[in-house]
Symmetry: C2
Subunit: 248 residues, 2 copies
C-alpha cells in the first residue's frame, strides 16, 4: 500500500512536471521569441523546441511509465499495449515534425544542418526512437511475432527505452543552452545579454531544470522493481487474445 502511494506521488509529480515543461517552452517561444508560423522564418524554428519537448520528453516519458500504473495491473494488457504504442507514435510524430521545423528553417536560411553536438545527439535520439518503435510494433503487437523474438527483444526494449529518455534530456538541455547564447547576445533590439540573466533567460533556464527533473522522476519510476507489472504468462495470454482480436 505504501509502495502504491509512493508511486502515485511520483506519477503526479511527473504529470505536473510534464505540463509545466510544455507551458514553459510555449510561453518562452510565444512571449520572448515572437510566436509561431510555418514560413521558413525564425517563427518556424520556434516550433522545434515546443514539438521536441512535447514529443521526445513529455509524451515519451508518460508513454514509458504507462505499464507501471497499478490501476492497469489486474487488467488485460492488450489495450494498455495499444495505448503505449499510440502515445509513443504521437511522440514520434511530434519529434519528426519538430525536426522538419528546424531543417526547413535552416534550408530556407541557407544554414548548414547537423553540425553541432546538440544536432548529432538529437538526430541519433530520434533515429533510435524510430527504430525502437518499429521493433516494438513488430515484436510486441504483431501476433505473428515468435515468442523467442519477443523474449530476446524485451530487455533490449526496456533498456533502450531508458537510454532514449536520457538522450532526449541531453539533447534538450544542450539545445536550450545553445539557443539562449544565440538569442541573448545583448546587441540588438535592446535585449539584455544572457550573462545578465534577463527574465527570458531565467524562464528558459528553469524550464531546462524542470526537463532534467522530469527525466529523473520517469527513470526513478522505471527502475523501481516494486512498480513493475508482473508478466508471468501474460505474453502468452496476450498472444492468444491479440490473435482473437485481429481474427474477430
Amino acid at each position: 500500500m505504501r509502495s502504491i502511494v509512493s508511486f502515485y506521488f511520483c506519477y503526479l509529480l511527473c504529470l505536473c512536471l510534464g505540463i509545466a515543461c510544455i507551458v514553459l517552452v510555449t510561453t518562452w517561444n510565444s512571449k520572448w521569441r515572437g510566436g509561431f508560423a510555418w514560413d521558413g522564418s525564425s517563427l518556424q524554428f520556434n516550433w522545434h523546441p515546443v514539438l521536441m519537448v512535447t514529443g521526445l520528453v513529455v509524451l515519451y516519458g508518460n508513454g514509458a511509465v504507462l505499464y507501471r500504473v497499478p490501476l492497469t495491473w489486474g487488467q488485460n494488457k492488450l489495450p494498455w499495449k495499444l495505448l503505449h504504442a499510440g502515445v509513443m507514435l504521437l511522440a514520434l510524430i511530434c519529434s519528426v515534425l519538430g525536426l522538419c521545423a528546424v531543417f526547413d528553417f535552416h534550408n530556407a536560411n541557407k544554414t548548414q544542418n547537423l553540425y553541432s553536438l546538440h544536432s548529432w545527439i538529437g538526430i541519433c535520439t530520434t533515429a533510435l526512437f524510430t527504430l525502437q518503435w518499429v521493433l516494438g510494433l513488430a515484436g510486441f503487437l504483431l501476433p505473428c511475432s515468435p515468442m523467442s523474438f519477443r523474449k530476446l527483444l524485451k530487455p533490449a526494449h526496456v533498456w533502450m527505452g531508458g537510454s532514449i529518455l536520457i538522450l532526449s534530456v541531453v539533447s534538450c538541455i544542450s539545445g536550450i543552452n545553445e539557443k539562449l547564447f544565440f538569442a541573448l547576445k545583448g546587441t540588438t533590439n535592446g535585449t539584455q545579454p544572457y550573462a545578465n540573466l534577463p527574465p527570458e533567460a531565467l524562464v528558459a533556464n528553469s524550464f531546462g531544470v524542470l526537463i532534467v527533473l522530469f527525466g529523473l522522476v520517469i527513470l526513478k519510476i522505471l527502475s523501481n522493481p516494486h512498480w513493475q507489472r508482473q508478466e508471468a504468462s501474460e505474453d502468452v495470454s496476450y498472444s492468444v487474445s491479440a490473435t482473437n482480436l485481429l481474427m474477430s
Copy 2:
C-alpha cells in the same frame, strides 16, 4: 558464466571509452585551444573540461561500478568500500579543481559566473556529488553509523549515484556544445566556423558522443541485477570488521 563474460565485455568497453574521453579532451585543449596554464587566461579555462570529464565522468563512472566486478564478490567488502570512497574522493577533488579553474578564469576576466543552463546544472551536479560523498562516508564507512540509517540511505545512495552520472553527462554535453559555439566563430585567426565542421569540431563532437556512450554503458552495468553483489548479511559483518580495523 555467460553473464560474467558479458560483464567483462561491458567493463572493458567502459574502460576503453573512459580512456578515449580523457585522451580526446586533452588533445582538443592542447592541440586546438593552446594548452594549459593557471594564470587567469583562457589556458586556465582549458583545465575546466579536462578536470570535469576526468573527475565527474570517468573516475566517477569507474568508482560507481567497482562493486559490480565479480572478482570482488567473494572477498571482504571493506577494502573495496575504501577503494570506492577513495576513487570518488579523487573524482570530487578533480571536479572542485575544475570548477576553480573556470571561476578563477571568469573572475580574472570580469565575466559573470553561473548564468548559463550548463553552469546551473553543472554546479548542482557537483553539489549533489559532494552531499552524496559526505553522506556515503557518514553512512557506510563510519562504524558508529546505525544500521537503520544505513538501510535507509542505501537505496537513496544507489539512486542518487545514477542520477549524478546522468547530470554529469548532461552538463558535459551542454558545455562542449557551448564552448564550440564560443570558440569556432570563424572570424578571428583564420579559424573555420563550427558550421563547416573543421577538424576541431569533429574531434570535440566525437568526444561528446563518447561521453554519452560511456554514461550509457556505466548505467547499463549499474542496472543489471545479475551483476549486483549479494549483500545478505555483509553490512553486519562489515560493521564488525570495520570496528575491529579501527580499534586494532
